[in-house]
């Protein structure tokens, strides 16, 4: 029975992901913008950090090559894990279109996750792989993961974590019709505390410690460090399997909170027509 349910879910996910992939393939140039934006963004970082490291061999325990690899890794991981589930859900609630999902034999949360799978497969083909090749061949950066298996595992968990966070934020629209401000606040925090702008080891120690209890580092900093093969934060050094376990725990908690919020939100939702 359980196997049958899992098989059915997999089939639904595959179908939704395939349709989403086909739909977004029509706008593949949208994704291909990253082939320009990613390397330009990296070029700016390249010159900034080259200037900062002039005369310094290591800052906060990171060397210049490590720093450059870190930025490449965060960019590539972002192409594989980004989503706009929050924006999408808010739009559906505000316009009343969410009501149509109440009639479908699949819950919206699972549907949105399946959509994300299809969308990110497109990201893999038109954003991640081209940028990987540009970083590797043009910039001569060592962007190969230290351990491919661990890296894939960590990116998969970051993929789920990002979805659970964004979907939870999207659910605020069940209470506040126009909640773009809440989304903006969260995006702001995510930008800072995920480690995408600057590695978290550069932060004051208190903030580094706080990062263990916030969901953000599990979406960018953790997968990037797993990708590069070492993890230290707030003077705590963990082995990669330990980091993966910590990330798994965070994903389980985020998933449970998201599922709980979804159940409460559905009870709160009312809609007429769409």
């Amino acid at each position: 029975m359980m196997f049958k349910t899992i098989k059915h879910r997999f089939q639904v996910m595959r179908a939704v992901a395939f349709v989403t992939f086909k739909e977004w393939s029509a706008y593949r140039s949208h994704s291909m913008v990253s082939i320009f934006v990613g390397p330009v963004y990296f070029l700016v970082q390249y010159y900034i950090w080259n200037s900062v490291y002039s005369g310094e061999s290591s800052i906060n325990g990171m060397t210049l090559p490590q720093m450059l690899t870190y930025f490449c890794a965060t960019l590539l991981i972002n192409y594989l894990t980004m989503d706009f589930a929050d924006w999408n859900l808010q739009m559906l609630i505000r316009t009343g279109k969410f009501i149509t999902f109440s009639l479908r034999p699949v819950n919206h949360m699972f549907f949105a996750l399946s959509q994300k799978v299809g969308h990110r497969v497109l990201g893999l083909l038109f954003e991640c792989i081209p940028c990987f090749l540009i970083f590797y061949l043009v910039f001569d950066i060592n962007v190969l993961p230290a351990n491919a298996f661990y890296a894939v595992l960590s990116i998969a968990m970051a993929f789920l974590m990002n979805f659970f966070i964004n979907y939870s934020i999207g659910m605020t629209a069940f209470w506040m019709v126009q909640s773009s401000s809440i989304r903006n606040i969260f995006n702001l925090c995510a930008q800072v505390f995920s480690g995408a702008a600057i590695p978290l080891v550069f932060f004051p120690r208190t903030l580094q410690l706080a990062s263990f209890f916030l969901p953000f580092q599990y979406t960018a900093f953790v997968p990037a460090m797993v990708y590069t093969g070492s993890y230290t934060l707030a003077d705590v050094t963990l082995t990669i399997p330990q980091v993966l376990l910590l990330q798994l725990l965070a994903v389980i908690v985020a998933g449970a909170v998201c599922r709980l919020l979804y159940a409460v939100s559905l009870k709160h939702f009312t809609g007429v027509g769409a």
Partner: protein, 260 residues
Amino acid sequence: MRRLLRIYRVCVMANLATAISYRMNFILNCLITLIGNVLFPLVTVIIYQSNASFAGWTFHEALLIQAVFILSTACASLLFNGIMWSTMSHVVEGSLEVLLIKPAPGLFLLLAQAFNIESIGLLAGGLAIFGYALGGVGGMTLMTWLLFLLLFAAGLLVMLGVVLIVAAISFKWVANSRLPEMFESVKAFGRYPGTIFPKMVVAISSFIFPVSMIAFFPASALIGRWEGYYVAAILPCLLFAGFGIWLYNRMLHSYKSAGG
């Protein structure tokens, strides 16, 4: 001219009324842009806190460049950035003719409707950082202030040029909301001291795509660290904005639609 000013005032009032219709959302968005500004120079702050630096630039000097960048972004967002988004939306929905049949120039109407009061938070944050950065630098005279204002205005022309070029491209490259990202990424070269980039990049960012004029040139001029070619770079800025206006109007004239 008076008629156009009256139209502009009416559009601004309408935008204000729209913005405050969701009061909580409006206040929060203003606050977020304000807080976002404090975090904008985060990388610079953290770099200097780690006892590192951009070679040849003190913390306050580097911060001043970023503050000028924020001010420039705030002015652009307050006055004309909306042209880009509304053009994109009109082209996708095929509703631009509603605007074109009105008895006023299309670009002017879009400009009037583009006024975005929520950017006031951005402006306030930028001014606060600007004031803080100024407290730690010297070398300012009346002459450098005048030069700063001149170069800052030229930087705004670059911002206007970018907005119009992106909006013009959206007539052909329809429904690509990531188009502005391409130009935003290039603007990042104007956010840091130009001396950290190689000469080739400096030449391009000064005379071809003059993003250095957005923040680096005005801020450097203000603290007396300017060079002659900064003034010469005003000409490419004028040409850049002129090209943006020409391209936008050309696209507007060639616009065809069957109604939305």
